[in-house]
Symmetry: C2
Subunit: 140 residues, 2 copies
């Protein structure tokens, strides 16, 4: 029980720091997103389907979108795009890179890629982060 309370507190903190009140729906979404050992990637539609499948009382689409969006704006989720028109989210917010393999995404730890040369930021700007996408193809 101690652990449970502690975890919920973490989720509530994430919500509060995203400017959101910790409602039941939101806490459950956080539990689903952050209450596991491994980070993962998802679309809002996938998240909605996974969570609502097991629930008698469904959480509405708008709540999923609102919550994910706020978590992302606060930096608790990272957004990325493939070549299609759907937003993907990543619960791994540590700076890292990706392999893209025909729609499948694989994380690359930050320290697996280092640079020999990087350009200067334009005047008045600075670099916020650097992300590398390595596109893969079959080894024919």
């Amino acid at each position: 029980m101690h652990k449970m309370i502690k975890k919920n507190k973490t989720f509530i903190d994430k919500l509060r720091s995203s400017g959101l009140r910790p409602t039941n729906q939101r806490v459950e979404i956080c539990k689903f997103l952050f209450g596991r050992k491994k980070t993962f990637h998802f679309t809002v539609e996938e998240l909605k389907n996974s969570m609502n499948l097991k629930r008698l009382k469904k959480i509405s689409t708008a709540t999923f979108y609102n919550t994910v969006h706020a978590l992302k704006s606060a930096g608790h989720l990272k957004e990325f795009s493939l070549d299609n028109n759907t937003s993907y989210y990543d619960t791994n917010i540590a700076s890292h890179h990706h392999f893209f393999d025909n729609g499948k995404v694989i994380d690359i730890k930050s320290d697996k890629i280092t640079f020999q040369k990087l350009p200067e930021a334009p005047k008045g700007k600075k670099i916020k982060n650097v992300e590398v996408v390595i596109r893969l193809e079959n080894n024919n």
Copy 2:
């Protein structure tokens, strides 16, 4: 006039190599995309608006989408995504990188970034290309 003919031939070649017949609409789209000194970025919607503004007889949305898609599949355009749900296209197909500055995209020449360390491709796969996105923020 010579130059004009030569250019049109280039456009027609691009279309043919994309599996498309060189119709008037398509040649005009190619002219707009490839008949200039500098490469540029665009969305299909932007392309449509820019081109149709000056035309008495408008080219239909579907034709813009079809043509851009075929040119992209043939490698005459590169597609990329920002954090939203719109596809962007780049007439610069040379391998290169990007600064993203609040929705604005700036090209970075390929030789401005070099790597010290890159990960191996997973078994049975090989690297198709490597693309770097450098996100910028204001120098507060």
